[in-house]
């Protein structure tokens, strides 16, 4: 049974004040996320990721289509006892302490009070917030809010966890910790569906990803399969400066270190580059294939980079 089935969900917005026009934020498509998967939902800014997640959680209503969650009708409110959700840039009642907030959400999720008392400190520990357990949320930094946000998404031990940009606002340590949490959720047999535009996170974490662009589903698959579709690149290293202009003319980026020149270029141009180096009578040091990344996939297939945010690694 799939954990999430998106059945042609569509969302149009009316924009403009005087002359109303329709903006399609999400075009209909089918997508199934299997139980036990870590599934990445990728796309550049404005692709429709948040729109999809808000539709799934019933925060906004679709103009067409429906969905199933954990095999049940998505509008069944009780299915949400089994789902955890982290919104984008989450904001919480700032007059509560982290512990009170988690207790509140636990109660709303129908948790048993004794189970809850044990669970709250455990979850706070898991997101590294034990020290701030009794601090009011108004005193929290952005990253701390994000961590509490993850805590509230898993407080009731849900089967399906839906996270909208779980790594945003976190420092490198925080991102590693969140990756670990996502991995451990999978180990516990949970399904994790998360959106991101940080591709390295998707590459290291996801069993499968879906790529969304301008409201359209562009691809679904294993990361390796997607990147394999992208024409490969090779790195050529040689000694000497004379062949550099000719290689650069082939569209390669060259960097010189000491007496070595390194050029990364599309596989198809390799022969021409080697010819240039031979003609200049320079010594070839190495030729290595470069693994294509999701970033290459984005650049080639969507014609744009997915990240406006600078990666901090």
């Amino acid at each position: 049974m799939p954990a999430i089935e998106i059945l042609g969900l569509e969302k149009k917005y009316e924009v403009g004040f005087l002359r109303k026009t329709e903006k399609v934020a999400l075009k209909p498509f089918e997508l199934a996320v299997q139980e036990g998967e870590i599934f990445g939902y990728l796309g550049p800014n404005g692709a429709g990721k948040t729109t999809t997640l808000k539709l799934l959680m019933g925060l906004i209503f679709p103009t067409a289509g429906s969905a199933r969650l954990l095999g049940r009708h998505w509008r069944d409110p009780d299915v949400k006892t089994e789902i955890g959700f982290l919104p984008e840039q989450p904001y919480f009642y700032d007059y509560l302490t982290a512990t009170e907030l988690l207790e509140y959400y636990g109660e709303l999720s129908g948790m048993d009070p004794t189970a809850q008392r044990l669970r709250v400190p455990e979850v706070l520990e898991r997101v590294g917030m034990t020290a701030a357990a009794s601090t009011q949320l108004r005193k929290f930094s952005k990253g701390m809010l994000q961590r509490v946000g993850i805590a509230q998404a898993i407080i009731h031990d849900p089967k399906l966890v839906i996270l909208d940009e779980p790594m945003s606002g976190l420092d490198p340590m925080g991102r590693l910790e969140v990756r670990d949490i996502i991995h451990s959720l999978k180990d516990e047999g949970k399904t994790v569906f998360f959106s991101t535009h940080i591709l390295s996170d998707a590459e290291t974490l996801c069993d499968r990803v879906a790529v969304l662009n301008e409201g359209e589903l562009r691809a679904i698959g294993v990361v390796a399969d997607l990147t394999a579709q992208v024409g490969g690149k090779v790195e050529v290293v040689w000694q000497g400066e004379k062949a550099k202009p000719a290689v650069e003319a082939l569209g390669a980026e060259c960097r010189t270190t000491a007496s070595l020149v390194r050029a990364v270029l599309p596989e198809a141009k390799l022969d021409a580059a080697l010819d240039a180096i031979r003609q200049a009578r320079e010594r070839l040091v190495s030729v290595t294939p470069v693994r294509a990344t999701l970033e290459d996939y984005f650049l080639q297939k969507l014609g744009r980079k997915p990240l406006e945010e600078v990666e901090t690694r």
């Binding site: 808000k54 925060l59 949400k80 919104p87 989450p90 919480f92 009642y93 999720s109």
Partner: protein, 258 residues
């Protein structure tokens, strides 16, 4: 009652307390203390009247201001700040959220009014040196004031479900004032003719009748209030509030959160 509604109501009350809403009691206490000391010095016979009038009018105004200003933000603020997202991601029905928020503010107002009422009774004891049977009307008047708060809160909630906070506040205050003169409005409707009469009558009866819920004058003169009126007012206020909350729920059920 449903446990999720209770949880939301309790949290709403906690928010009000932590946001220092109950601090208004300090001003109220100062007002009552100052007022009763002052009348205690100037007159003999009308002390009781002045204290009851001043006290109950203040209880009513403080409460209405709280009901409107918190009432308009009860749900709209949660949408604006997006604190609602993680609540509606739980097995919480939208109506449960609205009803929980509503009860939370009503509980806040009841606690606030209870403490103020103690202040009024203390002031009464101070100027009259004893409490009598006639003072029971003061308790009835306070009960009616609470019923007014229930209606005003429901209306503030309803208005905020389709208009901006500022407009909602203006509307709620306007309805409160018009409703205070509900009897005059009904009288005016009865005097007019033809289509105007139909329109004015409908308008007059749509407005909440806050005049019937105001027995401050009777309380000041220690006149008893008919048991029938207590029953009628209770049913009237609860039905009116129910209709307004139901309207807010109907609008909110369809709403796309931003």
């Amino acid at each position: 009652m449903n446990s999720r509604v209770l949880t939301i109501a309790a949290n709403t009350f906690r928010e009000a307390v932590r946001d220092r809403v109950l601090y208004n009691l300090v001003f109220f206490a100062l007002l009552m203390a100052g007022g009763s000391i002052l009348v205690g010095q100037i007159s003999i016979d009308i002390e009781r009247q002045v204290v009851v009038n001043l006290g109950l009018t203040a209880v009513s105004l403080f409460g209405v201001v709280i009901a409107i200003f918190i009432g308009i933000g009860l749900v709209s603020k949660e949408i604006e700040k997006r604190t609602l997202y993680t609540v509606l991601a739980r097995p919480v029905r939208r109506w449960e959220f609205i009803v929980g928020k509503f009860f939370g503010l009503v509980i806040t107002l009841v606690v606030n009014t209870f403490l103020m009422s103690l202040g009024v009774l203390l002031a009464l004891l101070y100027v009259a040196h004893k409490l009598e049977r006639g003072d029971l009307t003061v308790v009835v008047a306070i009960y009616f004031i609470v019923l007014q708060f229930v209606v005003v809160t429901a209306l503030a909630l309803l208005f905020s479900s389709f208009s901006s906070p500022l407009l909602s506040a203006v509307l709620a205050f306007a309805v409160f004032i018009v409703g205070t003169f509900a009897e005059d409005l009904r009288g005016f409707a009865a005097m007019s003719q033809g289509v105007t009469r139909v329109g004015a009558t409908i308008a007059a009866y749509l407005m909440p009748n806050f005049a019937a819920l105001n027995v401050i004058a009777e309380a000041a003169h220690a006149k008893p209030v008919a048991g029938n009126l207590i029953l009628f007012n209770t049913v009237y206020a609860l039905l009116y509030a129910l209709a307004a909350v139901a309207g807010a729920v109907l609008i909110f059920e369809r709403r796309n959160l931003k």
